[in-house]
Each structure stands twice: as C-alpha cells, then as structure tokens.
Chain length 603, copies 2
C-alpha cells in the first residue's frame, strides 16, 4: 500500500525560511495567533490525520466506490467516520471567520492542510472540499439570516456544501443553463432543473447538504447576464436550525468515472425545490466566481498533493527495486542488481516529480500569502497589489499544477514499470484521480483564456507587469552574485521574453481575436515555467545563504540547490517549445474547415 509523510521539512523551508510566514502572519489581523509553534502543531496534527485516517481509506474507497440506493448515497466504508473525526478535530472551521464560528486562522494554513488531504485521499477530500466554496459565496453574498442558518453549519462542518452549475448541455457556457427559479408568495423560489457532475451532491457524511445553485428567474435577460444564485438545502432547516422537512432536490444517478471513485458525483434533480436568492437577481455569475476562485486554487493544490504522493512512493520503489547494473559499473555489487535509482533516466523521472512538487508548493504558498492579504490585509495599496497577483496567479495555480501533476503521477507509474499499471500498487489510481483536475472548475483551456485574455490582455499587460517587476527586482538584486548566476541569467532573459511574447500576442489580437485562444495554453504553460523558475531561484538563494551561515542541515540545502539546478536545466527548456508555438500564431490552427478535419476516414 502506498505510504505518505507530509513534507514538513520542505514546508518549513518554504514558509519559515523563504517566504517568511512568521512575519507575514504577525502582520495579519487574526494571524497573530498563528505563531510558529501553533503552526507547527497544526501541521503535525494535520499530517497525522492525513496519514493515519485518510490514507488507509484511499485504495478501498477507490475499489468500493459509492452506492445509490433508494435515493440515498452511501460513501465507501470508513468515509463517514473519518469525516466525523475531521469535524471533531475542528478542521472545517480553521480559517473561517470567528463571527461565523470559525477559528479565524489564515487561509494559507488551510491550504497547506489541503495539500496533505489531497495527497492521501482526494475522493474523500472532495466531500468537505466543496463546502469552502459554498461558504465563501454565503459569506460574501448571503444575507445575515442565510449566514446564520447555513454558513455557521458549513463552518462547523456538520453540513456540507455543493456548487450546482453544470447542466447536461452546458458546463463552460453557463449562459445556456435551463434551470428555472420561480418566485413564491413568501419571497422564496421554486427551483426546477437538472444539474450534472455535482461533487458530493448526495452522501451520508453530514446531516444536511447546502446546494448553491445557478438558475434563471422568469424574464431574466438572455445568456450569462440572466443567471442568479440560490441556496437550496437538502433538508429545510426547522425552527431550531436543525434539518427538518425534505426539500425537492434528489440525486438521480451517480456518474461512473475514471477516478475519484470514492466521491459521489451526482446528477441532481431539482423539482420545485425551495430555494433562496443569494446576492442580487441576475448577478449570479459574479457570485459564482467567488466560489470558483477558491475552488480553482483548491484544484491546483490537488495537483500538488497528488504529485507529492506519487513522488514519495516512486522514490521508495526506486531505492528498493533491483534491476540491471549502472552503465558506469555496479553500485551495489553485493546485491544481484543495482537499485534502479542509480539509472539516470529513473532519476530524471523522480526529479521531475520532485521539482514539480517543491515548485508547486512554493507557488501555492506564495499565492496563499496574497490570498491572506486580500482577505485580511490592512494596507489598501498592499491589498490591491495582492489582489492583482492573486488574480493573475490563480489560473496558473489551477492549470499549471494540474497539468504537471498529471505528468508527475504518470512518471510515478513509469518508475514502477509494469507494476505501475497494477491497481494493488496504488500508482495508477493517482493518475486516474489526477485526470479530473485538468477538467473540473474550468479546463486548462478555460484557465488559459482567463489568464491571457481576462487577466493579462484586458489589463493591457499591467497585471503581468506587477509580477515581472518583482522578478526583475530580484534579478537586479543578484547581479554580481556569481553563485546565483546560473539561475539569475536565464531567469532575467525569460522574464524579459515573457513581456515581449505578451506584447506580440496583444498586437496580433488587435487584428484577430482568435490569436488569443491560439496562444493561450502555450502561454499559460510558459507562464507557469517562468513562475516556478523565479521561485526556484529564490529557493536556491535561500539555501545558499543557509549553507553559508553554517547550517547543520547542509544536505537538505544542497539537495534544494541541486533540485533548482535540475529544474533550470531539464524542465525550463520547455519554454523554448512554448515560445515558438505562441509565435506560430493562429493560422495553422484555423486553416482547416470543420469538414477537412475528417477527410482521412470519412467517406
């Protein structure tokens, strides 16, 4: 069975040493309670919960799946009990506002714990995972009464939440939804329609489920301007706030999926279900984006968690499995063959995983600081800057970390050879589970359009400049530092190129809007690689400083510098391909007619 240890040492490096989280928390209202000791204790306890409670249920949950019987969904064995422990441990309320019963700790801390949950049991993590988005929507857009009724229960964790957006004929294009909301005499609404792909739409982990549902009011404007958001509970709360009468919403069927079998992905039928408007009428899409942005960061963290899980197990296997001799001569002559970690190509795969795990962790924690500042920052200029960076980096976190996460989990299978394809070893499950992360909460293509179109080009490149200026400043600061030249020289070059490529697309897009879509995914991947290069350069500097200061953990810092070097020499060259593809423009993509695509096989 796969094992997992939370990467506490690496987290300490990124949080305490590189990004100075202690100072960050000290400045944050509410953060002052997140002292280094408290943080360390929380992370250790979270690590224990993930490893001892969630991990043992991961393979069994995958094999067992969920069961729909008489309208009730049973999650796999042990899921409910694990969720009870989660609630009893106070985990759901960690980063929620004290006003709603939360502990008021910084969001970044919850994100770190989320990595551990995703690494050990993604399917389980999707039950509480959706509650955050629902809670965010209610916190920002709900009435006081809605907050008192639903939000406190979500924060406490005794109820869970869902996001009901997708319908059979539309996912990305929510302007097409058909679900209707008809006002009732008492100011509520009757919601009728079918939603699909609803994660944790129905289950037996919590006593009630709070659905956040997009629907159209009568006479709503056409398209995405006519969407409203509603809260629709599974059980109507009674006078005491406890689950009362059953509402008209039910799970029609469970999807059979490639992965995350332990999570109930439901078709939800709303049949004149009683619901309540959240936020202003016809402004549901904006409210939805509140949920969506939190969810997108969350999915990026899923990519990171699965990368780390796959890496740790591939590493253990590579140290243990004996096969062939090193080309340069036996490394373990006393054994019948060398452990496969001696082979350079196995190392290439392991280092790819390791670099994406450590790079992804830096990216998440860097972005998490921005989120903390956006949520709690006192200085408005600082908050505005953080908002800009957060909004720029969110699609990168989501799409880049899930794309490379899928690659990394596949490298894990590859290290295991044929055994990687066998369920028993657990490596193929990580691939299947990670496959969804490139799709849900907006595919990679959608994230890429968000990044390039909405975030970068719509701001005339200003949002990008906020980030590239920071990188530029870092590079300038290291000029003349010979130890850093191997990182700073290529980084500075890429940073300048990033701006040039952006400008190039912007110019072309003025003539032809399709140029944006044609460049978008390559642009996103390019951006991800440069962002990680910046963070790895900072990590290398931090590690060099620690070694110069005579640390007694020289091996750890040495490994960090070597990993950064691997990243720069063996992963960063991919920017060359992406840059060329960006520059190739839209013409090679748009040239074929829809018919011409099929002429090789259609008669």
């Amino acid at each position: 069975m796969p094992d997992y240890q939370a990467p506490l040492r690496d987290l300490r490096f990124v949080m305490d040493e590189m990004l100075d989280y202690p100072a960050h928390y000290a400045r944050l209202p509410g953060g002052e309670e997140a002292t280094p000791d408290v943080v360390a204790a929380i992370l250790e306890e979270g690590a224990r919960f993930a490893r001892e409670v969630l991990l043992p249920l991961n393979q069994s949950g995958d094999q067992e799946g969920c069961l729909l019987e008489g309208g009730e969904v049973k999650a796999p064995k042990g899921f409910k009990e694990a969720y009870q422990q989660y609630v009893e441990g106070g985990w759901p309320s960690l980063a929620a506002e004290p006003a709603h019963g939360g502990q008021g700790l910084p969001h970044s801390l919850a994100m770190v714990l989320s990595e551990m949950i995703c690494a050990t049991n993604l399917a389980w993590g999707m039950y509480p995972g959706l509650s955050h988005g629902a809670a965010d929507a209610l916190r920002h857009h709900g009435t006081e009464e809605q907050q008192a009724t639903y939000l406190t229960k979500l924060v406490e964790g005794v109820w869970t939440g869902t996001m009901c957006l997708t319908e059979p004929h539309c996912g990305t294009d929510l302007g097409l939804i058909k679900t209707r909301a008809v006002p009732t005499a008492d100011g509520a609404y009757e919601i009728t329609g079918t939603k699909i792909f609803i994660s944790a739409g129905e289950h037996d982990l919590a006593e009630n489920i709070v659905h956040l549902v997009l629907a159209k009011l009568p006479d709503a404007p056409e398209g995405s301007k006519g969407i409203s958001l509603f809260v629709v509970p599974k059980f109507m709360p009674d006078a005491g706030g406890n689950p009362g009468e059953r509402n008209g919403v039910a799970c029609g069927s469970l999807e059979h999926k490639m992965g995350i079998h332990g999570n109930a992905t439901c078709v939800m039928n709303f049949d004149a279900a009683r619901g309540f408007l959240v936020g202003p009428p016809n402004k549901g899409l904006a409210c939805m984006f509140t949920m969506m942005n939190a969810a997108r960061l969350g999915v990026g963290i899923q990519g990171l968690g699965l990368t780390e899980a796959s890496f740790q197990n591939a590493l253990a296997y590579a140290r243990d499995r004996l096969q062939m001799r090193a080309l340069s001569g036996p490394q373990a002559p006393e054994k019948p063959a060398d452990p496969i970690i001696v082979h350079p190509d196995v190392r290439r795969m392991l280092l790819t995983q390791k670099a994406f795990a450590e790079g992804g962790r830096m990216l998440v924690l860097y972005t998490a600081q921005m989120l903390d500042v956006v949520e709690h920052g006192q200085d408005s200029a600082e908050r505005e800057r953080a908002e800009t960076l957060l909004s720029l980096l969110t699609p990168i976190v989501k799409a880049f970390l899930t794309e490379v996460g899928f690659e990394a989990t596949n490298e894990g299978v590859q290290v295991f050879g044929g055994h990687g394809f066998i369920q028993e070893w657990g490596m193929e499950q990580l691939v299947r589970d990670s496959r969804i992360t490139r799709l849900y909460e907006g595919t990679t293509g959608i994230q890429a359009l968000d990044l390039l179109g909405r975030k970068v080009l719509m701001s005339q490149g200003e949002s990008l400049k906020v980030f590239t200026k920071e990188i530029h400043k870092f590079c300038k600061g290291e000029e003349g530092n010979a130890d850093m030249a191997e990182f700073v020289a290529p980084l500075a070059k890429l940073n300048a190129e990033w701006g040039e490529l952006t400008m190039g697309i912007g110019m072309k897009a003025m003539k032809d809007r399709e140029e944006v879509g044609a460049a978008s995914v390559d642009y996103l991947m390019y951006s991800g690689y440069v962002t990680l290069a910046y963070l790895f350069a900072r990590a290398a500097k931090q590690a060099q400083q620690a070694m110069a200061g005579g640390s007694d953990e020289a091996a750890f810092y040495q490994a960090k510098v070597k990993t950064a070097r691997f990243y720069f020499q063996r992963l960063l060259p991919r920017t060359r391909a992406h840059a060329q593809c960006i520059q190739a423009g839209a013409e090679p993509l748009m040239a074929l007619s829809a018919e011409e695509f099929g002429l090789g096989f259609e008669i």
Copy 2:
C-alpha cells in the same frame, strides 16, 4: 458509444500515393498477390470486422473484465465468438508462410489491419496479438517438429501463444529469472517457476495455448547468458496433434489493472510443466528478441490505433457540442452557441491528435516496408539497408508512438471536458488502455537505451546515417522548390542537428557512460519528431503534386498540407526543448545522493 471508421482514404494516400506500395508489393516474392484490388478488399473487410464485431465489445469488455474460476479464465461476453469469426475469416494466417499454412501475404498488410483492431478493441486484440511473437520465435528457432506441432496451429489461430518472460522480481533485467528447466530422460524439460504479467496466459478463446517461456537450465551461466527458451503447451498435443493431457501450467491469479480489462493478464505457475527447448541452450535471450521485435512494432501500432480512435470521436464531439461563441464573432448564429470546433484551442487539441495519427501511420507504413524487405527481399544490399532502418526505427515506433498516443488519447478526453472523465463516453477508457503501451514490451526508457545505446552509438552512428542520408537526399532534391521551403528548410536543419547531437552524446559518453542514459529519452523523442517531420514533408510534397496534377480531391490534399504545416509549426518546436535537455548532460541528474531525494519529507 464511440464510433470508428477505418481511415481508408488516408491509408490509400500513404500506401498507394506516398510510399508506392503497389510497386513495393509487386517486387516482393509473395507480394505479387497483394494487388491493389486485393489489398483494398482486405482492408475493407478488416475495417468491417473491426467496426462491426470488435468495437461493440470494447466498452462491455472493459466493464466486465475477465473471470478466473476453478483455474479457468472466462473472457468477457462475446470475445470468444469474435475470435471464432476472426479465425474463420482467415485473419491469423494472413501474413504467415504458406509452408506453415499461411497465406503468404506481406507482413505490412497485417500491420495495417492491426491498427484497426487496436483502434476498436485493444483488450481483445491482445489475445491473438501475442500469437505473432510466439509464431515468429518458432518459425526462426523451432525444430521442424515443433513447427509442425505448434506453429501451424498458431497460424491457423485455433491455438494462441504467449510470451512468458517477466517474474515478480524482474522484468527488464531478465538475467535475474529464477524459473528452472530440468532435463527429463526423454529429451524434454520440466519447467518450474512463476511468471507474471502474462497477457492472454489463460482464456477460453482457443482450444490450446502455446507458452514460450524463458527459464534456466541447471548449471546455466549466471545472468542473461544463461537463459534458454522453451515451448510449453497448456495441453500436450496427442498423437493426432490435438489437445490431449493437461500440462503442469496454470493461471494462479488475474491482475487488476488500470486498463485493458478485457484481456486476461495472468500470473502463471509452472509446476514441473513439460516443455521443449527452442533454439540452442543458453541462447534464449536472442530467440526472445525475435518475439520482442515483432511485439514492439505491434505495441507502437497500438499507440497509433488508440490515437486514431480518440481523434475520430473527439472530432465528432467538437462538431456537435455547442458552447460559447467564437472570440471573433458567432459562427453559427442560428444556434444557441457555436460548435466548439470553432475555438482555436479545441482545434489545437484535435490537430495534435490528427497529426500524430497521420504521422504515426506514415511511420508504421514506412517501417513496415522495411520489415517486408527484411523478410522477403531478394537483393542482399537492399535487405541489409532495410534491416538497419528497421532496427533503428523499431524503438522509435514503439516508444514515440505510445508516448504521443497517450498524449493524444488525453487530448481526446480534454476535448470532451468533464464528459471525458465519464466512462459512458468511452474516452477515458482509451487513456487507461493506452497507458500500458508505454510500459510493456520494454518501457520508453528501455526503448530509448536501445535506440541511443545499442542501435546508434554501438554502430558509431552508422545506422543513423543511413536514415539521415535519405532525409538529406530528400531535402537536396527539393532545393529551389519554393512550395516546399517551409518544410524542407527546418527539416534540413534538424537533420543536421540530429547528427551533431548524436556526436555530442557519443563524445561525452566516452568519459561517462551515464551520459547515454541521461540523454536517452529526450533523444528518442527528438528522433521521433524529426522522423515524423521527414514523413510529413514527403506527404506535403505528394499532396502538392496531386493538386498540381488537377486532382478532384483537392480538399483532401489541402487538408494534408495544412496538417503538415500544423505539425511543423506547433509540434516540431518541441525538438528545441529536447535538444537543450540532451545537451544539459548527466550532471543535473546524477548530483543527488539517494538520501538527498527524500530530505523534504523524511524525518
């Protein structure tokens, strides 16, 4: 349910127009019967069999899987009947020698049919698929008696074959095998040991199974020099050549796998099973490579077939699914949204699939001609040249087509968005099925070492030169052809760089053998991209000529040129990343100690 139409028009283009198969077959002994009419009839009949018989069993076979009961394995419903039709149709004997009951048609023709089988039902295809390798081993190394007893049955298809190589502790490193062969008084052997991952090791499709087994004789030399090959039937043939007494070989269990659920992947226990030596004692590894090379080409074709299957279904979905408007304005204003094929990023994914399908098909058919010449060619110089090219291209066919096949099937899922993750649509099955192709018959890493180490560097680059000279000649021939400049200029440059990179690795490897392993996978991928560039350039030329000649299929040829252009502009840039990674050398991979890999999470 997914659909499939054999790409007959594209096959005709590659076979008849580009590679002049009619002339190739006319020159081949035995090939003269493969007249264009006969070939067309066979391909059409094969297309029908694949679509009408195999395709409907693909999803049900995946969901049902195989069942082991009382030592007997039942394949999914319908598999046995489909196999009977296959045998009755004479398909197994198509390319076998008339001396063994075969029809003596060229091997290349069987490979084309194999693409159709893999595209429609890979799990089913693995039952007859392994017979080819077993038959090859017996044809080349078996005694006349063994050929009469076993080979004719394999050719007829009433018996199937297996390749029993892997053991729990060794796959790549067969020198470590523990299975023993003890001579008996009558000149036979008793085989004892456990083999794992045996595809079609036990099933109910055929009346007998012929296992080709690697084992060690008593006092065999250590390691890979002490391996011998044995034929071990499931049922001992009786005096009439029919299945008689049960032999001491049985399926111990079935593996639970990520994909190809319909195929029985068996643990096979040999308990003093009666077997017969094939080829000389201790020369089993060489005999095994006879099976292996055929199998490797076969796996590359699996990658191709799955690519085409995924492409066709993604294309149909992209034309049908309405979502969002084109950025440049509505393309189907009469509909509620545009079909997603209008979006450039969807086109990028479809074209990636299309280019890998068409490029892979050209590579397979180019290589297949070499195989035909090696098997049947009359001119010894021509045969030697074909042998060189075949041996150079085999690891590229195997590893490159499976790596890009996995990418292509994943693009298919991505085009479907969330629906791609749902089993019902069939797209995720193609991903799961294709995942094994990167692993079995030698992982991508092993193919890469074979290409760079054994094929290229061990011949001092001579084998590569045979191919790069051909490419050089093609480029020279197009000098001054302005219509071809967009293809020929980058191709010529890459072709020269290919040699330089090879030389660079060779020089470094003289000092440090690990440089070979460090460069190998990037070298293989680089080689694959350049090889496809050569073939796409030839395809573009062919298409341009056809249009210049006033063809009434201008749209087909136009699409071919546009696909070639997409390949050059949007896929070939990946060579830039691979070239840089090759040049980065071994140092970044070898720097970390085995301990240093784990310092982020190990305490």
